[in-house]
């Protein structure tokens, strides 16, 4: 469902929906179905011996969930505002929360609006990139949250 190719399946309207959020001054979008919920920011509890962008664990209704700071990962400064939010995503290795600067909206995109894997120079690792879409007048980078949250080794060596 996180793959843009699946968007041809017109029976499920949710597959065309994307969650738009901001990190630094860049607007990103991720397939809506890849986000389980949006959480209010809560101070993570640090976990020892982890990579720099893994900043700790939080309590989500009784279960312990790891937190990845997407701001650090996408090379943006960490500054906490009232809008700072967490996206709770299910990865293959269990749930994980991602910190973003703010959550904007949910948008509909038609497959033809999306340019797959354009050869652009982005702050984001190319592997995480699903494509770039035009929304109103701005460009939105569509990223694969699953990949950007689960692929890397979290343990600092």
């Amino acid at each position: 469902m996180s793959d843009i190719n699946n968007m041809n399946n017109k029976s499920d309207i949710n597959q065309f929906k994307f969650l738009v959020f901001n990190i630094g001054d860049v607007q990103y979008a991720a397939p809506l179905l890849s986000v389980r919920e949006v959480l209010e920011f809560q101070e993570p509890k640090p976990m020892p011996n982890m990579v720099s962008y893994f900043i700790g664990v939080i309590n989500v209704r009784g279960s312990i969930v790891g937190v990845i700071d997407l701001r650090t990962k996408f090379h943006c400064p960490e500054k906490k505002t009232r809008k700072t939010a967490m996206l709770l995503c299910d990865t293959d290795l269990g749930p994980i929360a991602a910190i973003v600067d703010s959550v904007d909206s949910v948008i509909h995109l038609k497959p033809e609006d999306v340019e797959k894997k354009p050869p652009v120079h982005a702050k984001v690792n190319h592997e995480y990139l699903l494509g770039v879409a035009k929304n109103r007048d701005s460009l939105i980078t569509i990223i694969d949250l699953h990949k950007s949250l689960s692929e890397e080794k979290l343990k600092a060596s």
Partner: protein
């Protein structure tokens, strides 16, 4: 094959396993004393197994049971006498059936070989029938040739009257069979007291209705209740902060607290199973092994109704089997040796389980030749596991056999072989957060004492502060807690002296590093303020420095999801009373890592 049939098979295989377990226990009871009820029960079991298997289309299995059942019918109707040989064959049938059920469950079409079993089975029945016939006819003198007592009985028979003669003869015949049985079994019937206790329990269990629930459902229930109890404690903390004085509120908060605790205890209790199932399998192992080794062994089992978490039970089966095997194989001497040392010809193995405040204590003891301290010490020194000059206590010497690499093939003869795989035993027990202690007296026997926690999901934890964060340390992994101010430190602050012992010091914050903790440490690298937690593994002790100890609390252990699990030094997480997540520190892991590094340094230097 349809899904429905698959499911039916799965249900049947669960039921069959229960029945087979009963099958085993009946045969074990039969080996002590042949009783009509037991044979009746065995027949019923066979019949049910046959019916059930055919209903789900396991024709092979059904046919197998059918043939075995034919034999049991003969036993039940007293046409053939139940000999030890037949009982051991019925146990063999149990093994074959278990295997068949396992294969059927996995959906494999592989055939289990049982032709050789049936040829043995039929032979045993013919033989037994032969003896039976001899009872009916006048017993031939040849049968009693090597039995003086029986001979005496026959001679008295000769003077008896015709009518009573027949009766007496039958009696003689049975006497002989009993003798034959004892000879083959090499195991004296267990004390009657024990046995009646056991049969009582068997019938008690029968009356209880049971329902099959997948363990995942139980886990979900426990998780939800765990969550509930966390929120209860959050409420409780809030109450002390807000200082609410409404009586009704306080009252119901208190009752809520109590009910939550009870609910939690009960939910955990659902996972508990009596240790009986392990004991039964151990008994059978002993029976088989002692027969193979031709040693006479009496088994005494105590406390088989003590309950343990199902997971703990499953994990303990192999270690206990290992210890018991060692005890028979290497601990208990053969009859000649036992006679020489003035012991009864029969060895005794006692396996007991006892509920204690901190968990369950399992003791396996034998009256064999015991462990030789000198030999163990010498071997360990040869292997370089311990320095030549080290002065070790008895306990420390015995625990040497738990070290990996202690034993090799050649030590089997030298050191009665104990130590082969003992490191695996000790590792398993450590994983379950238990401990093992060995006591032994040369020539008298040895005891292995294993302490286990009752449950894996709730522990006693110390709440500690480290890098201004709260962590949990399981209480049972800590030997003692000492205030750093009260300690005698050496000038480099690398050692403390504790009651004549010098213990190395390690800052826990150096092992569990946080992102921002670097600056805090650099400000005062040599400070040694805080509290020492002394952890012990085997003979080694290390004092770990933490900032503070906040208190002690019952902790609900939550597994971490795969993203964050498997970290060195962290064994799980929990939600603390203030609602924050807390990490549980695995002291055993940290200690063993520390030791490995330390040893590595020594070698490098």
């Amino acid at each position: 094959m349809g899904d429905f049939e698959d499911e039916m098979r799965l249900i049947f295989s669960d039921e069959a396993n229960d029945m087979l377990q009963k099958w085993e226990s009946i045969n074990l009871s039969l080996s002590k004393e042949v009783k009509d009820e037991l044979l009746q029960e065995l027949f019923r079991l066979a019949h049910n197994l046959k019916g059930g298997s055919r209903a789900v289309g396991l024709v092979d299995f059904g046919d197998f049971v059918h043939k075995v059942e034919d034999g049991i019918t003969l036993l039940r109707d007293k046409e053939v006498h139940t000999t030890a040989k037949i009982i051991s064959l019925l146990l063999r049938a149990h093994k074959i059936m278990t295997e068949m059920i396992l294969k059927a469950r996995d959906g494999s079409n592989e055939k289990v070989e049982f032709e050789s079993f049936f040829s043995d089975y039929e032979k045993a029945f013919e033989l037994s029938a032969q003896i039976e016939k001899n009872i009916d006819a006048t017993p031939s003198a040849a049968m009693f040739e090597d039995d003086v007592k029986a001979d005496d009985l026959i001679s008295t028979n000769l003077f008896q009257e015709e009518v009573s003669k027949k009766v007496e003869e039958i009696h003689v015949g049975q006497e002989v069979i009993k003798k034959v049985e004892n000879y083959q079994l090499n195991i004296e019937p267990k004390k009657i007291k024990n046995e009646t206790l056991e049969t009582n329990k068997l019938s008690k269990n029968n009356n209880q209705e049971t329902i099959r629930i997948p363990t995942t459902k139980l886990d979900q229930l426990t998780a939800v209740i765990g969550e509930l109890s966390i929120h209860q404690s959050i409420l409780w903390h809030l109450n002390s902060d807000l200082k609410i004085s409404n009586k009704v509120f306080l009252n119901s908060l208190q009752i809520g607290q109590k009910l939550t605790k009870e609910l939690y205890d009960r939910a955990l209790g659902l996972r508990m199973q009596p240790i009986q199932s392990i004991f039964q399998r151990l008994e059978r192992n002993i029976l088989e092994l002692s027969q193979n080794l031709k040693k006479e062994v009496e088994v005494i089992m105590l406390g088989s109704d003590v309950e343990l978490d199902k997971l703990v039970l499953e994990k303990m089966m192999d270690p206990l089997t290992h210890i018991v095997r060692n005890a028979i194989d290497h601990g208990i001497e053969n009859q000649i040796q036992r006679n020489e040392s003035g012991k009864s010809a029969k060895g005794t193995i006692t396996i007991s389980a006892k509920q204690e405040s901190s968990g369950v204590l399992i003791v396996v003891s034998d009256d064999g030749k015991g462990l030789a301290q000198n030999k163990i010490l010498k071997k360990a020194q040869e292997k370089g596991l311990v320095s030549e000059t080290a002065a070790l206590s008895r306990d420390q010497i015995f625990s040497l056999i738990l070290l990996p690499g202690f034993s090799t093939a050649e030590t089997i003869t030298d050191l009665s072989g104990r130590g082969v795989g003992m490191d695996v035993v000790s590792k398993t027990i450590e994983q379950l957060r238990g401990s093992i202690k060995i006591e032994s007296e040369e020539g008298r026997g040895s005891s292995f004492m294993i302490s286990l926690p009752t449950s894996l999901s709730i522990i006693d934890g110390l709440i500690i502060k480290l890098n201004s964060q709260l962590y949990v340390v399981p209480v049972d992994s800590i030997e003692e807690v000492i205030n750093a101010v009260d300690c005698e430190l050496d000038e480099h602050k690398t050692m403390i002296r504790l009651r004549q012992n010098v213990i190395p010091v390690q800052k826990l914050s150096h092992i569990l590093k946080n992102r921002n903790s670097g600056q805090v440490q650099s400000s005062d690298p040599n400070s040694c303020e805080g509290v020492f937690l002394v952890a012990k593994s085997g003979r080694e002790k290390v004092a770990f420095l933490v900032d503070d100890v906040m208190g002690q609390q019952q902790i609900v252990v939550r597994p971490l999801n795969q993203n964050i699990s498997g970290l060195k030094g962290i064994m799980g997480g929990t939600i603390l009373g203030n609602g924050e997540p807390g990490l549980i520190i695995d002291m055993t892991d940290i200690l063993s890592n520390y030791m490995d590094k330390f040893r590595g340094k020594e070698i490098a230097a």
